[in-house]
């Protein structure tokens, strides 16, 4: 029996309030169900790899940091690690600890950010406001430690630029305590709030086999039972000296991805406490040569979104010969088409949001074009998001009835 419903292509213009990044997916619909998805990436491509070849290593630390404004220290650390390996620099332990502390703080801010965005995508704006308000605690902490809320300028070749003073340590521990309480509440919400579970469970399914063959990384892969985490498998910075669990889940859907990120938040608080408790004395940097001797290295880093890979080739001058960046979201978008297959259009925004796409790391575009009855119509992302929220509301999922408790002031 042939399906007589028309194929509808729904475009979401590159302007969308949801993830604040220009994106374009081409979605073919049959009625309500998604038939196929085609990706068009490229709206955020700026030319950074070429820019790296034209700038010195030190300038590149700052350029590379701005590949992504959410996982900025991920890129900066991955880059300096590769250069330090080529130059055979022995980075002081204290510097490694500081890098790791900031890395975990970044993971915390990123996952709380994601929680809010996911809430927004399903129509749960209160969750957005709550989680972003809580997130301000870690933003203030990052500003205290590094001087900026984002793009910290923490790293230099050979170590870090700023030290953690003894006065800052109680503040770090205090924020970890506050956020741990709040995260426990969000976990409780995730496990008990029926409305949220109904909206997230069974959506965006990605089997373990598909996650592996399509190269998914990070929480997206771990929520499909793929037990991979660069911090444990290819330890860098101070991760070899702390103990932590790699959080995996078997739901293989958006709900699983939510649980994995919440679990990683709890692990992050534990890691930061261990690091602060065992922070070694000593210098925070070693002298690095201006001209890095010829050589090459691959550096891997577990960014909040997954494995970030940097390849650097040096040629004996003060500028790199080649810098290659493979950000985690590029690996994850390949899976999105699979996740959306046979799903409902109404679930598209949350499925895409669930891979926590950082399109500036990867620069992608999503456009879903609506050609009902042959007449092309453009929907914005917000309209599609609204459509999804209303569609689910008609089926009984209504977040306006959910009341959150306020919790401690961050």
């Amino acid at each position: 029996m042939s399906d007589k419903r028309k194929i509808v292509q729904v475009p979401i213009g590159p302007q969308h309030p949801a993830l604040k990044e220009p994106e374009s997916f081409m979605v073919d619909l049959r009625g309500e169900k998604i038939d196929a998805v085609r990706l068009r990436l490229g709206y955020n491509h700026r030319g950074i790899e070429k820019g790296c070849e034209q700038r010195t290593y030190v300038q590149d630390v700052y350029l590379v940091e701005r590949i992504c404004g959410i996982c900025s220290t991920s890129h900066s650390t991955a880059f300096v690690q590769a250069v330090e390996e080529i130059a055979a620099l022995e980075v002081p332990r204290r510097a490694l600890y500081i890098r790791t502390i900031v890395a975990e703080l970044e993971r915390i801010h990123s996952h709380l950010l994601w929680l809010g965005v996911a809430g927004h995508e399903v129509g749960f704006d209160t969750l957005l406001m709550y989680s972003w308000r809580d997130r301000e605690a870690v933003m203030d902490l990052l500003a205290l430690l590094t001087g900026n809320r984002v793009n910290y300028g923490l790293n230099t070749i050979g170590g870090v630029r700023r030290d953690i003073t003894p006065e800052e340590i109680p503040e770090i521990l205090r924020v970890m305590d506050v956020l741990e309480e709040r995260t426990k509440y969000y976990i409780k919400l995730g496990l008990e709030e029926e409305t949220l579970i109904r909206r997230l469970a069974g959506v965006g399914k990605l089997s373990k086999e598909d996650a592996v063959s399509l190269g998914a990384v990070g929480p997206t892969a771990r929520a499909s039972g793929v037990d991979r985490d660069t911090r444990r498998d290819d330890p860098y910075a101070a991760y070899g000296e702390v103990s932590f669990k790699v959080v995996t889940d078997d739901h293989c859907d958006v709900y699983g991805r939510t649980l994995v990120r919440l679990g990683e938040l709890m692990e992050a608080y534990s890691i930061v406490r261990q690091l602060v408790k065992n922070l070694p004395e000593g210098p925070i940097t070693v002298k690095a040569p201006l001209r890095v001797p010829a050589g090459e290295a691959v550096s891997r880093y577990e960014a909040p979104r997954g494995e970030d890979v940097h390849y650097v080739q040096a040629n004996g001058t003060d500028k790199p010969e080649r810098v290659k960046v493979r950000a985690p979201t590029l690996a994850n978008t390949q899976s999105v088409a699979k996740m959306l297959e046979d799903g409902y259009l109404a679930d598209l925004p949350i499925v895409i949001a669930a891979i926590d796409p950082c399109f500036s790391c990867t620069d992608r575009t999503i456009s879903v074009r609506d050609t009902a009855r042959g007449t092309p119509q453009t929907l914005t992302w917000d309209e599609l998001s609204r459509y999804g929220i209303d569609w689910h509301r008609r089926r009984g999922i209504d977040f306006s009835k959910v009341v959150l408790s306020g919790g401690a002031r961050a």
């Binding site: 085609r38 990706l39 068009r40 990436l41 490229g42 491509h45 030319g47 790899e49 070429k50 390996e85 592996v212 063959s213 399509l214 190269g215 998914a216 793929v226 037990d227 991979r228 660069t230 498998d233 290819d234 290295a297 691959v298 891997r300 494995e307 890979v309 390849y311 080739q313 080649r322 290659k324 493979r326 590029l330 690996a331 978008t333 390949q334 899976s335 620069d363």
Partner: protein
């Protein structure tokens, strides 16, 4: 013998021509240099028989008359095998997307940014350059200058 050393021994046993071409940089980093003629069998052995089931990315290099390609493979548990090969500019290489469906996007990058020619890629949109990027301009080639495509210069696109 460390894990990396064990892999090197295994590679040199299977492919005697690789003697001297496999380098252990450190515990988790192997480098393998292989010519295009033997690339497919080495790559397949690593990914299918020796457990390197993760393709992290493919790096393109401009080596003058040739283009260089580094396939960054890894075992799920962390050991990386970086396979380097090269081909003259203009000569096509085979896509690895049959073995790694998610790897096509890395090859599209090579096509756009280096002008590489890749056979066997399934149809799909270009990446990462824009639709109106001029033909034949490949930004990551060493002799390519930004001004030749119009952007990057102050006021270039302001009419």
């Amino acid at each position: 013998m460390s894990e990396a050393e064990a892999v090197r021994a295994e590679l040199e046993k299977r492919f005697p021509y690789l003697a001297g071409a496999v380098r252990v940089q450190r515990a988790k980093r192997l480098w393998v240099e292989v010519d295009q003629a033997h690339f497919a069998e080495v790559f397949e052995a690593l990914s299918k028989k020796l457990g390197f089931t993760v393709l992290c990315t493919i790096t393109g290099l401009d080596l003058g008359a040739d283009l260089g390609f580094i396939y960054h493979l890894a075992r799920p548990a962390g050991l990386m095998a970086n396979v380097k090969t090269r081909a003259p500019k203009g000569k096509a290489i085979r896509s690895v997307s049959p073995l790694f469906p998610g790897g096509g996007i890395f090859e599209r990058e090579l096509i756009d940014l280096f002008g590489a020619s890749v056979e066997g890629l399934p149809p799909g949109a270009r990446y990462p350059l824009p639709d109106d990027w001029p033909e034949g301009e490949h930004p990551l080639l060493k002799d390519w200058q930004p001004t030749s495509a119009g952007t990057g210069e102050k006021g270039a696109d302001r009419e």
